[in-house]
């Protein structure tokens, strides 16, 4: 089952479709008529295979109010099953474990980025308490959402054998509820982050210099940067885009079948899962560079103050601006 790739399946399906299309030269309606031209009541007019060639799902009329039940057969369910159990498992494992390996290599090969000039002992304010609240609200909810979300896909592989079915089921039930409700904290956090930081994340010419110099990672020298460098800006915009994608698809899943059919629900889950997996990998890198990967970085979000030398090395333009403002006696964030 898992050996056959989607490509091979698609190829086979297309070949079969082409052959059947060639065979179906005689219009189906002509076969339903008797010699006198009247409709033939006995003829097997509607054939399942013919209907499935016309449309991906067979729908009809039902006598009950539940409109979802009018979809008689949707073979795409098996395709979605394959995505969830094969594709997503592989993509998720490769992307997330791959990022962990890359970060481990970065730590052991490149090592921790030190403050070259050492600590000055002087501090300068970088993030206000309001900014830190927005960051940590988003961060904490993201970690909770990430772990409870991964549990839906990988829990039965990793946790179920350890916990046993009863305990794991109780845990998964709680994780599902937590995932559904913590989502609102994430939405709020992301909105706050975007409204607070969007003006400092607009791309500027200096970002090109920063990228050309490899962000200071490659040549081990410090690239010019304003309040946020090009790497941080990339995280900001990716978080905004990825966040929007998981929020929209997540709310479709949270309120199932409101204006969506079975195909849209499947698509929403595919988008939600794939974007979430990439998002987790991105945030793993973000966590690494903000803690282990760089000396003096964590305190920016921890206490809100950074060492003067750290600021000089990583955000020289921002520091210059800030010092100028302070001389003019204007307190800024």
């Amino acid at each position: 089952m898992s050996g056959t790739s989607i490509l091979a399946r698609t190829g086979r399906a297309l070949a079969v479709l082409a052959m059947l299309a060639a065979l179906a030269v005689v219009p189906a309606a002509a076969q339903q008529r008797g010699p006198d031209g009247a409709p033939e009541p006995d003829a097997s007019a509607v054939k399942e295979q013919a209907l499935l060639q016309e449309a991906p799902r067979i729908e009809g009329r039902i006598d009950i109010p539940d409109t979802r039940a009018s979809v008689l057969i949707q073979p795409a369910g098996r395709g979605w099953d394959h995505f969830h159990e094969v594709t997503l498992h592989r993509v998720g494992a490769v992307v997330i474990l791959g990022m962990v390996v890359i970060l481990a290599l970065a730590y052991f090969v490149v090592g921790r980025i030190r403050i070259s000039a050492g600590r000055s002992g002087k501090k300068i304010a970088r993030f206000s308490s309001w900014e830190r609240f927005a960051h940590w609200l988003t961060a904490a909810s993201f970690v909770v959402l990430g772990l409870t979300g991964l549990n839906i896909t990988f829990g039965k592989i990793v946790l179920l054998p350890m916990m046993g079915p009863d305990a794991f089921s109780r845990f998964a039930q709680a994780a599902k509820v937590v995932h559904n409700f913590v989502s609102f904290a994430f939405v709020l956090g992301l909105l706050l982050i975007v409204s607070l930081w969007i003006k400092d994340n607009v791309p500027r010419p200096v970002d090109i210099d920063w990228i050309k110099q490899g962000g200071g990672f490659v040549k081990a020298k410090h690239a010019p940067s304003g309040r946020f460098n090009a790497g941080e800006k990339a995280v900001f915009w990716l978080a905004l885009l990825g966040g929007a994608a998981v929020i929209v698809s997540g709310f479709l899943l949270l309120f199932p079948f409101y204006g969506t059919g079975i195909a849209a629900m499947q698509t929403a889950q595919v988008v939600h899962a794939l974007v979430a997996v990439l998002f987790v990998a991105l945030i793993l890198a973000h966590i690494y560079i903000g803690t282990l990967g760089m000396e003096g970085a964590f305190e920016a979000m921890g206490t809100g103050e950074v060492d003067l030398n750290w600021a000089e090395e990583h955000h020289d333009l921002w520091l210059a601006e800030k010092l100028k403002q302070e001389r003019h006696g204007q307190p800024t964030a």
């Binding site: 097997s44 509607v46 729908e59 039940a69 979809v71 979605w80 159990e85 559904n180 409700f181 079975i262």
Partner: protein, 200 residues
């Protein structure tokens, strides 16, 4: 060992919904849930067909495969059962099911669907309840299979359109019918459910 399957001969189904009613009554199915339903294709047009559909008890059941808590499983008879004690009501089995079989007692906002309910082939439940016990009946419905009986929907089908039983036997019955009357619209859902159709 038999491999239990359903087969709806759409050329015989008259959309009387007796199978739906029989199922609801026999299994005391919760309000709002229809384990079996009849869908009419090309309603009112020449050659319209009605198909009675419930859980097809698939080979490599996609619902069982996607279930995040692995609470759905096939029995030795090929009947796909689930445990309502383990179900977390995530709704994934409904997305994966090609036949729209899994249903939930509640609307489902904020993931509040409740425990999934679906056709059990009148074979009781997949939980820890004793086979044929009152607890099992209340949670999952009748266990007719344990009494040597087939699902009631098929047993009381007025035109014998709906067949339930060992896959090979019901396929043989259907093939004979098609041979005798000269036409057949196919074993609906078989290709999707069992990876094999019945040549007609």
């Amino acid at each position: 060992m038999a491999r239990m399957k359903f087969l709806c001969d759409a050329d015989r189904c008259i959309d009387c919904n007796a199978c739906v009613t029989a199922c609801k009554n026999e299994n005391e199915v919760p309000w709002g849930i229809n384990r079996r339903r009849v869908v009419t294709i090309h309603d009112g047009e020449p050659g319209e067909r009605s198909v009675s559909m419930a859980c097809m008890h698939c080979t490599d059941a996609p619902c069982a495969s996607v279930c995040p808590v692995s609470c759905i499983f096939p029995t030795d008879d090929g009947v796909v059962l689930h445990s309502k004690d383990l179900c977390i009501g995530c709704g994934y089995c409904f997305y994966a099911c090609p036949f729209g079989a899994p249903q939930y007692p509640k609307v489902g906002n904020f993931g509040s669907r409740g425990k999934m309910d679906k056709c059990t082939f009148c074979a009781g439940g997949g939980g820890t309840e004793v086979s044929g016990s009152l607890e099992e009946y209340r949670k999952y419905g009748a266990n007719r299979l344990a009494q040597g009986k087939l699902p009631l929907c098929a047993e009381m089908c007025s035109t014998k359109s709906l067949l339930a039983g060992d896959g090979e036997i019901i396929a043989e019955i259907y093939k004979e019918r098609v041979l005798k009357r000269g036409y057949g619209s196919g074993a609906w859902g078989w290709m999707t459910a069992y990876h094999e159709g019945i040549a007609t």
